[in-house]
């Protein structure tokens, strides 16, 4: 039987599906019976999903436009100067 402490250590392996079948069953059994670990697992999932939609801090459009212009001018002219 897995302890609650062990469950929290295994959460990432479980979510990554990097767990042997038997262990996975034991993990699920514990989660089925323990509401605290169930909450922990759910919160971990929410954390990961939230991170997946976190925007980077916005950069002003004029800065981006200027950069795009500079980058374009950096471009090596194709097949030039043979």
């Amino acid at each position: 039987m897995l302890t609650c402490a062990e469950i929290t250590e295994l959460v990432t392996a479980y979510l990554e599906k990097q767990m042997p079948w038997r262990r996975r069953m034991a993990f699920r059994m514990h989660i089925g019976m323990c509401r605290h670990c169930r909450a922990y697992l759910r919160q971990m999932r929410t954390t990961v999903q939230t991170l997946g939609h976190m925007p980077a801090e916005p950069i002003p459009t004029d800065v981006l436009d200027e950069l795009a212009r500079r980058l374009r001018s950096m471009r090596l002219p194709p097949r030039a100067k043979q």
Binding site: A5, T46, V48, G52
Partner: protein
């Protein structure tokens, strides 16, 4: 992130042809994200900005030889990480990527203290699990807390969680980009997630 860049091959072709809008798309898609990634490797924002500029120069130089073995995203991230690390070495700020060099004692002790000797919860998770990601993302304060918690992560954990969970790079690619083993990657990812969940709990629970 799951919003994939519009068809890599097409974008690369348009960039090579010098199409103006393609450069705007490239910069819009990646610049802010590159800066976020770079900030985990170097001491301050101005250095991170230089690293990103450097990365763009590298991307432009190598673009004609871009092969679609990796996605454009992964390819660009790899260029950034290489430049950032070189820069970090030059500034004698080495970034430990192995979980062994990153014992994360504070995080682990805080976590361990929540259990009794038999491994049962002494201090169970405080309830905030009815919160949905959609709701959390709308709260400015919650996002600020999360950003701070990410900034406070040890460098290895930060690099892994930004690439995996924020940018949605596969574990295989992350190992490749950071040159770490699969086990290492998973340990760092786990520790980072443990810390970030705890930060959200401290704020919401």
């Amino acid at each position: 992130m799951s919003d994939e860049a519009p068809d890599d091959a097409n974008l690369v072709a348009r960039l090579l042809a010098g199409e103006e809008q393609a450069f705007v798309t490239l910069i819009d898609t990646y610049h802010a994200r590159l800066l976020r990634l770079a900030l985990g490797f170097v001491a301050d924002r101005s250095v991170a900005e230089e690293v990103v500029q450097d990365t763009w120069a590298g991307v432009m130089a190598a673009l004609p030889s871009f092969e679609r073995r990796a996605s454009l995203k992964t390819w660009i991230f790899r260029i950034l990480v290489n430049r950032a690390r070189t820069r970090g070495v030059r500034e004698k700020r080495t970034v430990p990527f192995s979980a062994l060099e990153d014992p994360d004692d504070a995080g682990r002790q805080a976590h361990a203290a929540r259990f009794d000797g038999g491994g049962s919860w002494l201090e169970p998770p405080r309830p905030w699990d009815d919160e949905t990601p959609e709701r959390l993302l709308l709260r400015r304060e919650t996002m600020a807390i999360l950003r701070q918690a990410i900034d406070a992560l040890p460098p290895g954990q930060r690099a892994v969680i930004v690439l995996r969970d924020i940018e949605g790079v596969s574990s295989e690619e992350v190992c490749n980009i950071l040159d770490i083993t699969e086990t290492n990657q998973r340990v760092l990812l786990h520790r980072a997630r443990v810390r970030l969940r705890a930060a959200l709990e401290g704020h919401l629970g």
